[in-house]
């Protein structure tokens, strides 16, 4: 199964990755791994050579950290995996748009909504907001916000 195969490959490349299995089935994925911002490119290359596709890139804004969530999937049943990257509010994660060409627009959208710049992405113009927009709406210090929490409040 490709999912076990890719887990082995990731562990080889990034030995101190922590894998969290999902027993409840709520996350829709087999496992979720937290990698450092410097290791996301190696992980993405491993996924690309193994035949996975990039389903989604999403960002979360917590009080103490930013979180990027990458969903990878292949065309077999039940093979979705999640890779998370945690980094501070002033750090710049690397882009994977040369590995997965579809990541260009996904990173543009994340930049639009959160202001996260991706180093190596040649085109970070606003995608969904007007061209002259200088605000980042989904940050928790913009507009009407119900709560601004720390990451451990939610994920423990």
């Amino acid at each position: 199964m490709k999912v076990q195969e890719i887990e082995r490959v990731i562990l080889e490349k990034l030995p101190d990755t922590i894998f969290k299995r999902d027993e409840t089935g709520k996350t829709g994925s087999s496992w979720s791994a937290v990698v450092a911002a410097s290791g996301i490119r190696d992980a993405a290359k491993a996924f690309e050579t193994s035949g996975f596709f990039l389903e989604d890139i999403m960002a979360l804004d917590f009080q103490d950290t930013f979180e990027l969530v990458y969903h990878f999937n292949c065309y077999e049943p039940g093979s979705r995996v999640v890779v998370r990257v945690l980094f501070g509010h002033d750090q710049v994660p690397p882009s994977i748009c040369d590995i997965f060409r579809g990541a260009g627009w996904l990173e543009r959208e994340v930049h639009d909504f959160f202001g996260i710049s991706f180093s190596g992405n040649p085109d970070l113009r606003p995608l969904l907001l007007p061209e002259d927009a200088d605000y980042h709406p989904l940050r928790k210090d913009f507009g009407k916000v119900s709560a601004y929490r720390k990451r451990e409040d939610i994920y423990g």
Binding site: D56, H71, G102, S146, A147, I154, Y155
Partner: protein, 373 residues
């Protein structure tokens, strides 16, 4: 396919043309900045965001129940399927049991919605290519579906029919009769559409070998849905990660071979017929019992997240809800299939002609407000 006469670089004059955002064939408010060399496209840059309404920020400022109408308005052609998916996502997050009858009713409504979405795509695609008659035929059939769903949910386009724990109103004998009459009517219509469109030489010439999206390109851009199945990969979320009662029905997942516009048309056509099969089986096995389980008025999910994927009319759609233990989500993200489907145009449109660009844009079936959220 026409041969491009490559002019020498010195005499090549690049002409910039703006397609949209107000255009009869862009299926919403899409703008494509084209660089043309004669009639051939050298560079295509889609500009989106003209329909951005801030659904994700709204999700953080609404309680779960209040977000239900938003879901229908994102992809308004598969509004019932999006509703269904959101109800399933929240039920998974909280752990609500759904009665059997409600499951079957939701599947019937979702498949009817899928047929109506494909019928509308069929009508508008042919209208883009220049034929107005299939549009009228498709909308006539579509009105029958809308009548059925209108009688039970009260709305023709943007339903809020599903609730957390079931559906808001039960179906009666009139619904079942109308649905069976519709299925009987459609059984005779496929031959009409075949004669009108599928065997039409002009249509075949405008769609064969046009806009080929092969497997590698699909994988790079995350293309899903009928566009992916047209290039031979039979990936359908209803079969890969069965939800609701889809594993109890016997249906096929049609695939193409080449990934051109004609294959995409064929796949969607056959999908409509398979949806009719699912509805038939669901009506045969519709159980009795309650249609809505008891759910507390104030929904407070436990802390955590849920990522629920389902198959909308356009491909793999997913709701990602992060709950912080309060009545509104901390983050409400929707993964939409049209994002990847449109993204791939950056690479498919160059080296085609403008007329082919319209054909390609119509065949990938994007709904722009879904991308813009």
């Amino acid at each position: 396919m026409a041969e491009r006469q490559i002019a020498s670089p010195a005499s090549q004059k690049i002409y910039s043309l703006n397609l949209g955002p107000q255009h009869p064939s862009t299926h919403g408010v899409l703008r494509i900045l084209l660089d043309l060399d004669g009639e051939f496209i050298v560079k295509a840059d889609p500009v989106i965001g003209y329909g951005h309404r801030g659904h994700e920020k709204m999700g953080e400022n609404r309680i779960y129940k209040q977000f239900l109408p938003n879901t229908s308005r994102m992809d308004y052609l598969s509004g019932m399927i999006f509703n269904h998916g959101f109800a399933l996502a929240v039920e998974k997050l909280i752990g609500i049991e759904v009665p059997e009858r409600a499951k079957y009713i939701r599947v019937i409504a979702s498949e009817l919605n899928r047929i109506s979405s494909h019928l509308l795509w069929f009508g508008t695609y042919l209208m883009d290519l220049g034929g107005f008659t299939p549009f009228l035929y498709a909308f006539d059939d579509r009105e029958h579906i809308l009548d059925i769903l209108d009688s039970v949910s009260g709305s023709r386009l943007t339903y809020s029919y599903c609730r957390f724990g079931g559906v808001c109103r039960d179906v009666d004998a009139a619904f079942i009769d109308m649905t069976r009459a519709f299925l009987k009517r459609m059984a005779g219509r496929w031959a009409d559409y075949d004669n009108l469109v599928t065997k039409n030489i002009i249509f075949i010439n405008r769609t064969r070998d046009v806009g080929i999206i092969d497997r590698e390109l699909s994988r790079q851009y995350g293309v899903t849905g009928p566009n992916l199945r047209a290039c031979g990969i039979g990936y359908d979320v209803r079969k890969a990660e069965p939800y609701e009662v889809y594993d109890r029905f016997d249906f096929e997942v049609p695939t193409g071979s080449k990934g051109d516009a004609l294959d995409r048309y064929d796949v969607r056509f056959k999908e409509m017929q398979q949806s009719c099969r699912i509805i038939d089986q669901a009506l045969d096995h519709l159980p009795g019992g309650p249609y809505l389980s008891k759910v507390p008025q104030k929904l407070v999910p436990p802390k955590g997240e849920v990522y629920f994927a389902f198959e909308s009319a356009r491909g793999l759609t997913a709701y990602y809800l992060v709950s912080d233990g309060s009545t509104s989500p901390y983050r409400c993200h929707i993964r939409v299939p049209s994002f990847g489907n449109l993204n791939v145009l950056n690479e498919v449109l160059p080296e085609t002609m403008v007329a082919d660009a319209i054909s390609i844009l119509g065949s990938i079936d994007v709904v722009i407000p879904e991308i813009d959220r």
